[in-house]
Symmetry: C2
Subunit: 341 residues, 2 copies
């Protein structure tokens, strides 16, 4: 079956605001280390006031993944909601500049009284942002203000794009905004009607805790390709036994990928199991985007006729690149890096 796109991803469209922080800072401000915590506009403003000088880079988990696929030479599409504001323009530019098809209209302007918060004075929520604090151990701790991302609805799902994509990739984070969850379900329905493949990433341990029952239902009945890191998979199946968790994922999904940081990844497809080592990194600077870029590499490989082992290796190379610098998206052309590797 021919397709216009390799992968269509749907996710919360966010701009990352990245700053260094100490472990003490995380403790003082009650930020869960290594996790993603949802915050409201007020908390976002307070927290932003506290953090050091920052760098702004387009992010969003699934957004990073499609940026990676494009950087590898693939043909990705993306759906997600920004506002028609400066951060939204940044997000949109970076998608188009990277070669990602992205046509979701911005959230509408709403006429309402001007709020006193500088960051949000035009009515309606501004483009969402993720405050990422990087500790000296290169771990990232994320506080996400979803903003306009919560206005993504089923009406934003473009059925023709999903029908024209080999794989539709959904981030677990989409289960946080209620309307996005409906969009998620709608997208899954189109995928199955078209006999395309549906892929899900579990996104975050706390996200799994929030939505375990629904995730399990999806995974058992609808998901073809499941991405999780070790902790997310253990949380999903409520076990401390990785073999048991991987066995469950193997049973539930045609393909499962469990990433384990420097220990590499375990990939299953039916009875087949492939272990992929992590690619070497001279110095780990910021782990943001590691999982997103592993998924990018793997999905690129899978949609380009590679074996599981080869697809896993591409994922490992892409992940290694992104953790060697600040920011969640590749800084070099990954296709060239791959040729060199």
């Amino acid at each position: 079956m021919t397709s216009t796109f390799d992968v269509c991803a749907i996710g919360n469209a966010l701009v990352d605001v990245i700053a260094d922080a100490t472990d003490d800072f995380l403790k003082t401000h009650k930020i869960a280390k290594g996790a993603m915590t949802l915050i409201d506009a007020e908390r976002a403003a307070v927290l932003y006031d506290m953090i050091g000088p920052a760098v702004q880079i387009s992010g969003g988990s699934a957004g990073n993944t499609v940026a990676g696929i494009a950087s590898l030479g693939g043909k990705p599409a993306y759906m997600g909601k920004v506002k028609a504001d400066q951060l939204g323009a940044i997000f949109r530019h970076d998608m188009h500049a990277q070669g990602v098809h992205f046509a979701t209209p911005p959230a509408p302007e709403k006429r309402q009284s001007v709020k006193p918060v500088e960051i949000d004075r035009r009515g309606g929520a501004p483009t969402g942002r993720c405050l990422i604090l990087v500790t000296p151990d290169a771990q990232r701790s994320m506080s996400t203000y979803l903003g306009a991302a919560i206005e993504f609805t089923a009406a934003d799902v473009q059925p023709e794009v999903i029908r024209e994509s080999q794989i539709t990739y959904l981030e677990g984070y989409l289960f946080d905004p209620p309307e996005a969850k409906k969009a998620f379900r709608y997208a899954a329905k189109i995928v199955h009607e078209t006999e395309r493949r549906l892929s899900l990433t579990l996104s975050d341990v706390f996200c799994v805790e929030r939505h375990r029952a629904e995730f399990l239902d999806l995974i058992k009945n609808e998901v073809d390709i499941l991405f999780a890191n070790q902790n997310e998979l253990l949380a999903l199946y409520e076990t401390q036994d990785l073999d048991k968790a991987v066995a469950a994922a193997r049973e539930h999904c045609a393909i499962s990928i469990t990433t384990r940081s420097e220990k590499g990844a375990i990939i299953t497809r039916g009875a087949e199991t492939v272990e992929v080592p992590a690619a070497p990194v001279a110095r780990v600077v910021d782990t943001t985007g590691a999982g997103d870029l592993f998924a990018a590499g793997f999905l690129y490989g899978l949609t380009h006729g590679k074996t599981l082992a080869e697809a896993g290796r591409i994922g490992a190379v892409a992940a290694a690149e992104v953790i060697s610098h600040y920011g969640p998206r590749p800084q070099v052309q990954l296709s060239k890096l791959l040729t060199a590797a």
Copy 2:
């Protein structure tokens, strides 16, 4: 004479939008390599559409310098104009987060019909930005849309801050917006009334070409501490003979600093001459901010009782840090770096 601030800087307040580019791209789009070119809103929008995925970091030449002084442990103040928009909030946050006194009110909202350009739809110019293209040789080529920065006027100069600053530092770029030039002159007047010191950086060769006569007048009559790179100084004095240019600067200003990239810097004070070597850099990634950070280190040293040679060394260390990564501001605490150096 006691002072609240070491240095007060006035400059065009800009957010940098940094992307990689090839030399061919610069040629195709007629971007002067290594220089700063002023562009209008339309050209900014067109150029932005062309460039690759970008990173957004607070910038502005004098803004970078005060950020560096704060990072060294000094007490700087800044004056410059942003809009009350998202980029303006980023600029303001980064100044405050770095410990820079910055109280210039944002440019006022103007009620006018909504424009179709997404980047500029609220009426009045948005926060200015500098599109910085970094070529593989680490050279940066800048296209600046001044935006709200042109709305900085003499009324924005806070005389009490200038009176309370040992040195007032002005960027040559301020001569581009007509109202800022008046503000520049007004600030200079206050400096002299208070018997503080006035410092100027020539900013850019083309900037020197645009304003040579006025710069010469200022330098002969008002500037105590002059910063220039070699090419700017040669352009100012319309000579190819560096010795001659340095001799003229020596005659005109109490202190002159001529930076020469990897060849270090030449500092003069009356009959005294000090040559400072460049600090070693493992790999030059992006030269943006090199001059700004040299000025930061030198001004920090000068306002903390250091010799010319010591002040120059601090400048060299600060410049070396900033060219070792993307972005125009330090990524590490410079005071710690200095202790280690």
